[in-house]
Symmetry: C2
Subunit: 239 residues, 2 copies
DNA sequence: CGGCTACTTGAGTATTCTCAAATTGTGTGG
DNA sequence: CCACACAATTTGAGAATACTCAAGTAGCCG
């Protein structure tokens, strides 16, 4: 569980073009022509990067699931995001000398390293790429703001419902079942992200089960009543 | 209070180069050579833009103070930021056809419109500009994440303290007194931003006064014991 | 000077947290 | 393969923080 960071051991390995076409906020073939891509394999618990390490690359998640942890120097920390296939990671650290947060794998995962200087050069040559990067950054801001809104205005029950619906939608977009999935994160990480305590998350999930909205066994989730969840997450209590 | 939006009436008016040099995440002279800059004057309550309006420009705040309001379609809303001289506004909407949120002036303010297509073109020609824009976006992500951390891990008292310290630091950077300043926003907006109720903010400010950390009269704030505030807020000021 | 809004303060309530214990699942060494 | 230790999760009871509802005060604009 104590992770060697991902930088040291990696082999350059050009991935099939189809991958580049298929996935990602940035995933277009042109990148491959300009940027050497390294594949990083991580076990659960290993970090892709840590706050303070020199910033050198962005990463594109290809397999698995990772979390971002925001850290304060007084020891406070919070999970501010979960990342799956196609997500671009590291954008928050652009413009800095060192990464601003930790990114840690929740399970066996694979991320592609996109060294930043070559990427910048590529963006300069290919305006399309530049636009995609900028859009990815703006999209990240919007995602963060939507969660700020959610955490600031929703009850514990509503937050958990919203979280499950968000996972469902992301799974759907990746071609997986939006109704039945496995949580990649523990209650603790989920709680941290939702600004709750893990006991509260646990209780809340139990309550959603009581209400007949979901069924939960450990990390396995079934969304039984998606419409009901939506109603709950959207403001009105379910009676 | 019901605001005509800022788009209709504006006169092109080249601002002194010194302004461009002096202010802003993006404030460099090269911008002026490529991008026509329009000045928007707003009264308190008027909006710079509203969610749903076609996205056409970013804005650089020159005078005054504005707030960003995130909106949900079920009516929930939250203030997600306050913007002062030098802040770049609108970046969250890059890549969209329409703005994603409301930006409203809290007092008489002035913002410079940077039409986006010309700005993109300028960025293409001047890599320095591009880098600045990208850095500004990344910086926005970091600011949002730091506040997510604060809202997720701090008590009401700590949040208010952190908020005051943040204002103090921003004022200092603009050359104003970090110890004595006027709040540009009402308790309601402050509460919304901090994910609290306005009564709680009010009580909390009273408590900080009791503790001898600040003195508050309506919107006038004096930071009496900055070190004490820092200790309370958890050690470090939020940027 | 009214009438309004913004702000403050009080009292009781509710949601979420804290502390604690029980339960279940997981991995490891015998 | 089982027994055990350990980590993750669930559940309970009481406490605390922040909320709701309500009333009162203070500035502000016409």
């Amino acid at each position: 569980m104590n992770a060697a960071t991902a930088f040291a051991p990696t082999v350059p390995m050009p991935a099939p073009a189809s991958f580049f076409e298929a996935i990602g906020d940035i995933g277009i073939a042109q990148m491959r022509e300009h940027v050497p891509v390294l594949r990083h394999k991580l076990e659960g618990g290993e970090s892709l990067y840590r706050a303070g390490q020199p910033f050198r690359a962005l990463f594109l998640v290809n397999v698995g699931c990772l979390k971002t942890c925001e850290l304060a120097d007084d020891g406070r920390e919070q999970v501010t995001g979960f990342h799956m296939r196609g997500d671009l990671v590291g954008v928050e650290s652009i413009g800095l000398a060192a990464y601003a947060c930790d990114v840690v794998a929740l399970e066996s995962s694979e991320a592609w390293e996109l060294p930043y200087p070559p990427m910048l050069a590529a963006c300069r040559r290919v305006p399309e790429l530049q636009a995609r990067l900028t859009s990815a950054l703006a999209g990240e801001i919007r995602r963060d703001r939507l969660w700020m809104l959610a955490l600031g205005t929703l009850s514990a029950e509503q937050r958990v419902a919203a979280f499950l619906l968000d996972l469902a939608e992301r799974h759907a977009r990746l071609g997986f079942s939006p109704r039945h999935f496995i949580l990649r994160m523990g209650r603790l990480d989920m709680a941290s992200f939702l600004a709750l305590k893990h006991e509260t998350v646990s209780r809340t999930l139990s309550r959603l089960v009581e209400l007949g909205l979901v069924s939960v066994q450990r990390r396995e989730v079934n969304l039984v009543d998606v419409a009901g969840l939506r109603r709950l997450a959207g403001g009105e209590p379910v009676h």
